[in-house]
């Protein structure tokens, strides 16, 4: 488990991180979400012991992070934001060999090849990293962390500047890491990506945690009590509900309406009395993007 307790970091007058607490459970993928300047990188660098916070406590697998404790890196490693994290003048394979060696380990050629193959870098293994596309460089950077074999992995904005395709490949890599028993903390701006990978989400804004929870739990928390009711029948059901938004779909209408659950019967009765046939009633679940906007958009 990674536990962050009451983390505070100021830069002069700027309070970059202001009493942040959260946990990343064993084997979990937690996403750290927030706008630019929210304090994600500061939090991540503190966890990786690359920055010394003003106060607060961070534990990784029960081990308290102390300044200058480099043995920590037997347990945790990470890819930092925007940084290239790999050597441009080394080939794909040399980069892998270098970073695994940096952790005092070695990966047999066969395993290395299997890994490169799995993530579409095998044909590129002899190429210098600077000649790769941005997406491949990022995949390589993540692989270089993966081969270090630490139980905890932190990725700061790994999807920055990637196209949709590579973003999904990266999501696949992250699921792969989870499946091999790793615990991950990932910051990102890309809600689709986060929705795909995260077990839990921590929203952070202006250095404070503004909401956190499981993705489904958050959906329920932020459900807007909006229902989609699909009906078929003569005429436009919109006339019955002036507040609703109505869409025509093929031979049916879908009514989007906000109401308290106990008023749902009234709606159904009204529809029946006007001869509409009920095809489906669904409560709309907000996607992460909507939750994000609700949690952060209002303030930012």
């Amino acid at each position: 488990m990674i536990a962050v307790e009451h983390l505070v970091k100021r830069f002069g007058d700027v309070v970059a991180v202001d009493d942040v607490s959260f946990e990343v459970g064993e084997g979990e993928i937690v996403a750290l979400l927030g706008p630019n300047g929210a304090g994600k990188t500061t939090t991540i660098k503190s966890i990786l012991n690359l920055m010394v916070p003003d106060s607060g406590r961070i534990t990784i697998g029960g081990r308290v992070v102390k300044p200058g404790d480099h043995w920590l890196y037997r347990h945790i490693s990470g890819v930092l934001e925007g940084n290239r994290n790999i050597y441009w003048r080394l080939t794909v394979e040399q980069n892998l060999q270098f970073f695994v060696g940096l952790s005092g380990k070695w990966v047999a050629r066969r395993d290395r090849e299997r890994l490169l193959e799995r993530f579409g870098l095998l044909e590129r293994r002899g190429q210098e990293a600077r000649k790769l596309s941005r997406g491949m460089q990022q995949k390589l950077a993540v692989l270089c962390v993966l081969v270090r074999g630490t139980d905890y992995i932190v990725l700061d904005e790994p999807t920055l500047g990637l196209d949709v395709d590579t973003t999904y490949q990266l999501a696949d890599m992250i699921r792969f890491m989870k499946d091999s028993g790793r615990t991950l903390l990932v910051s990102s701006h890309n809600m689709k990506f986060v929705e795909r990978i995260a077990d839990r989400v921590v929203f952070i804004n202006r250095g404070r945690v503004v909401a956190q929870g499981g993705v489904d739990e958050l959906r329920r928390m932020f459900a807007f009590r909006t229902y989609s009711i699909r009906v078929v029948g003569r005429g436009n059901p919109g006339q019955l509900f002036p507040d609703a938004r109505v869409e025509q779909k093929e031979n049916a209408h879908v009514i989007h309406i906000s109401l308290e659950p106990e008023h749902l019967y009234d709606v159904v009765d009204k529809l029946r009395s006007h001869g509409f046939l009920l095809e489906e009633i669904r409560r709309d679940e907000p996607d992460l993007e909507e939750i994000y906007l609700k949690v952060i958009g209002g303030e930012a």
Partner: protein, 253 residues
């Protein structure tokens, strides 16, 4: 051992990538040397001191290139790693940056030699002044000569992280090293390992004095100050690094 293997891979590859820099660096130094050599021959035609001056020049140029290699490995290395965004990755080694960087220095002796040895040969050929090269003696002296340069490299590397643009200051320091060779071989100047080391190596290379025949007091002062400079540099780097980590600017460049 895996760590050493990894660092070797990197060093050899980077050496290959920057082979052009090595060659052009050697050419630059040779050109400067030629200009000075011609100047000396023109200014002091046929004088008895000419041979000595020229020999001193060969030794000074050789040692200078050797020391610059030592200084630059870290100052330039740390700056490069920070710019490339790989410095933090080096910090995330379970062995710690200290061990990683010291091993890197050890390995960088290869590329340092790849620069200085051909240079020495070229300088001896064009000046016609062939020096005594007792490999054991010269190796030991060169090692303790470069050690304090590594110490300074740590200091400037740490300052580069903290203050960013120190390139100009650093250029001056690079030149200043030669000035240290001119200082007399006596107290307190002999407490500067660059100065005492220069005089010792001069004697070894120009007069063919072996390690065991060099004055033990001078030799041990040289070795002791050399080690002290190195450890002092590491210590100062530690202080600078602490500050850098508090400011959260490790790897910012």
């Amino acid at each position: 051992m895996n760590l050493v293997r990894a660092l070797l891979i990197r060093e050899i590859q980077l050496l290959r990538s920057y082979a052009f820099n090595t060659v052009s660096g050697i050419i630059t130094v040779v050109i400067i040397f030629l200009i000075l050599l011609l100047g000396v021959r023109y200014a002091l035609p046929g004088s008895g001191g000419m041979g000595n001056t020229e020999e001193a020049m060969v030794v000074a140029f050789f040692l200078w290139s050797w020391l610059l290699g030592g200084l630059n490995t870290l100052t330039w290395g740390i700056t490069m790693e920070a710019q490339q965004g790989t410095l933090e990755q080096l910090y995330m080694s379970p062995y710690g940056f200290r061990v990683v960087s010291i091993l890197m220095l050890g390995i960088s002796i290869i590329s340092n030699l790849a620069f200085s040895v051909p240079l020495l040969v070229i300088l001896m050929l064009i000046s016609g002044r062939f020096l005594h090269i007792d490999v054991a003696t010269v190796s030991v002296l060169l090692f303790f000569m470069v050690l304090p340069a590594y110490g300074l490299g740590y200091v400037f590397g740490g300052m580069a992280l903290l203050y960013k643009r120190i390139q100009n200051v650093f250029q001056v320091i690079n030149m200043g090293v030669v000035g240290l060779f001119m200082l007399p071989d006596s107290f307190p100047w002999n407490l500067i390992p660059f100065t005492s080391g220069y005089h010792l190596i001069s004697r070894a290379m120009r007069q063919g004095i072996g390690l065991t025949h060099l004055p033990p007091a001078e030799l041990s002062t040289f070795i002791a100050t050399s080690i002290l400079f190195f450890l002092g540099g590491l210590w100062i780097y530690g202080l600078l690094e602490k500050r850098v980590k508090r400011l959260g600017i490790l790897g910012h460049y």
